[in-house]
Amino acid sequence: MKRVLCLRFCNWPVQRLQRLQSTDSQGGLVSRLAIYTAAPQAGAAAARSDSEQRDTAFVRDIFPSSRSGATILCSSQAAWHQGVRPGLPLGEARSMAAPVAKPSAAGRQPADTHFVPWDPVGDRRTLMELAEHARMFAPLIGLENGPVPDSLIMDITGCGVLFQGETVLAERLLKTFQQSGWQCRVAISDSAAAAWAFAHPGGHLLTQSTGPGEIDPRFDQSWQADSIIIPPGQSAGYLGSFPVAAGRIPLTDVRTLAELGIHTLRQLLDLPVEDLPSRLGNTTIERIRQLAGVDEELIRSIPEASPITASWVSETGATSRSEIRQVLDHLTQELEPQLRHRGLGAIALQAVMKHEDGSTDTLSAQVVSPLQDAARLLEVLHLRIESLHVKRPVFSIRMTTTVAPLPVARQKDLFSASEHLEPQEELTAVINRLNGRLGNNAVLTAAVSDSSVPEDTIQLTPVMSETAVTSRRTAACRIEQLVQTEADAADKAFAVRPVFLLPVPVRVPSLKPAARTFVWEGRTFEMQEWIGPERVQTHWWQEISVHRDYYRLLTTQGPEFWAFQNLTDGTWFLHGIFE
């Protein structure tokens, strides 16, 4: 099962600036600090990036006063106690923070409150830099998918065993950052949406009703611990009591839901999904589907600061497949020591080949589990090279890798290195090779879908998807299931189906119950017996309407067909063969 970790940095914009200011002044942390948004300026919006514009729009939605003037966004605990609260106009906040206390006996004045303009770009950039320190804990790390992020989302599926369990992983991760002076919390759950909710039970940082560091009285104290680990499959049960805001629902929809008397995630998730689009925005629908586990949230990986690469440049150019193969062999062997040095494995190789005119061709190969060994990486890469058509000379090749932590090393058998390989490891190796030569879409696993239409009853999924990097761990789980002997209980409820199903139903005009024969693929078949019908139809609310009566059609020549009548227009189709 997928496991996702949310690493939340408490009161992030303030915490970042406090550390920045202390670094500059070489003193302790600035205790009284407040961040404000600048007053809107004409023409400034065009110069901002998309993410910055989204962050600004989010802030203005929460704090209407920020549309007309500078407004406090967030403040440190000390400033909060002074009365400097989010949403307060800057001028008012300054007057609130003016020191009224008399000098102490030692003659020292109370520290001033620092008012610092908000830097959303700096906040994002620093978060991304911090991701480098978490690389050893997860192969895939991304920023939280939303405005004004304060968290890193990490795909830790299968990583728990590397740290003797997720508890130790969380502890070590926290320790890594806390030793550097960062205040953070960790939540581990089955999805990014759930992990974020457990790390932010009160909702987004800017919508908190309590001050920094204060305990929210709405929640049990255990929900406000530094580390929250939800066992697999139990997220939905715990999430139910959380407020709607914990689901990253946009503020406008939170207000709409509140007007409807919906305050908790359980109430929200119990609503009929079909009716929601008419009442709520697309983002809210997306969040609900992610929380319910219907959709998987894509974690956009933060690029590595120093990727593992190898390059080759030549003035003469490589003109044949064998020459390119030699170069790629050489580059892969250059990558191996880099991987070994960092203790990582490659899960994907990408070779960008540049031609004389500057155009490029890309050759990529993926493997299911991380590999360090150049020979095994080359084995997969060679299969891809076979399908390469070299039409023009290649003058430079740059090879990059996507890396992941290596799986746990086991002691091999005393006499044979391969004797004690697990079946899934063998299967992983063969899937790597199959993917290398046939392409990722040629190697599939099957799962039952919720469709009643025969051609869609089984969902075939590539073991390794071309696009989704997050599928790597899922692939490993699928491979593990392939070799296990426990039967899937869901399989037992199937109706009888033919072994062969035509890719699309074939309309046969001569196929009619009243006729004695019909012609298909140039052959005439004499109909002997019809057995059925089995009615297959979709629900009225489904987009694709299917109304069919299926029959098993026996012929005197031997073949048994699976035919159906389309109840909408009465036409007959062949759809399968019992062979």
Binding site: P423, I458, Q484, F500
Partner: protein, 290 residues
């Protein structure tokens, strides 16, 4: 001189070679054999086979998986299908239910760890039919090489275009070499002796069982398989009342029946005869006809 060094003439265990011993390449050998000699040779061959079976029995016994069909097991030299073997299922013609039979046999083999890999070059396998054969979908690894031809499998009789054939054969061998795969199944018409020998070596190393579903034309080709079955349709029957011809009806208990005949067994003298099986239309359950 060491005590063990003897001249060949004095070695007591050296078998005596009779003057009329037939050697390979002797063109008159067949004509010169008498019925007595032939019986003697058969007895010798059978004795050697027995010795071979005995010598490897302890390693093979645990790897033999009986099928769900007792009568079929009786036909098999090991009373079941041995791991690391190549099994051919020859279809006598369309509608023989060869694939249904092969999947039914494969289902039992999956009681041991490992995946069922199906190389489906025709892109026509209906995975929803597998649970009826006792195959969990979670164990299915489907390999579909690129297939561009529009010709249906029914007409082509598993005849594959060149590039698809080479990809399918390559995938078949790769899967047969993997110990993570319990059974590999595919449909293929022609198979060269080289390809068959490679498959045989692959499965002997890995213990994977290969099921090849082939058309009747394969009977004309040499084979290296361990077992070769011929599956032929025996028509359909309707038990009880309600059977009608050329008309819609709801049958009470209709079945499809077929014969399975073992026509080759590599390691032993196989039992003569065949068995008859049936598949209930309503449940998809395959059982023996008693």
């Amino acid at each position: 001189m060491p005590a063990t060094s003897r001249s060949p003439a004095t070695q007591p265990d050296r078998p005596h070679t009779p003057p009329n011993t037939q050697r390979p390449g002797n063109r008159h050998s067949a004509a010169q054999q008498t019925p007595t000699n032939r019986r003697s040779q058969s007895a010798t061959i059978e004795r050697l086979r027995q010795q071979l079976r005995t010598s490897v029995a302890h390693t093979q016994q645990q790897d033999v998986v009986p099928t769900d069909f007792v009568a079929l097991n009786r036909l098999l030299p090991d009373q079941g299908i041995r791991s690391g073997s190549v099994v051919e299922w020859i279809s006598s013609g369309p509608g023989s239910r060869t694939s249904t039979m092969a999947f039914a046999a494969a289902g039992r083999l999956l009681q041991q760890p490992g995946a069922l890999a199906v190389v489906d070059p025709l892109h026509c396998l209906c995975a929803a039919s597998l649970p009826q054969a006792g195959i969990p979908l979670s164990r299915l690894l489907l390999v579909r090489p690129k297939h561009t031809t529009a010709e249906s499998l029914f007409v082509s009789q598993y005849r594959l275009p060149g590039p698809v054939r080479s990809d399918a054969l390559w995938a078949l061998e790769q899967l047969a070499r993997s110990t993570g795969v319990r059974v590999v199944l595919t449909w293929i018409d022609r198979l060269s002796s080289t390809a068959q020998r490679r498959l045989q070596l692959a499965v002997e190393r890995s213990g994977t069982t290969v099921f090849l579903i082939r058309p009747a034309s394969a009977l004309q080709q040499p084979t290296w398989s361990d077992l070769r079955f011929l599956v032929s349709a025996n028509g359909s029957s309707v038990k009880g009342t309600g059977a009608k011809s050329s008309a819609h009806h709801t049958s009470t208990n209709p079945t499809s029946q077929w014969h399975v005949q073992l026509i080759r067994s590599r390691n032993s003298v196989h039992s003569q005869g065949h068995t008859r099986l049936e598949c209930q239309h309503e449940t998809g359950v395959v059982s023996e006809v008693l």
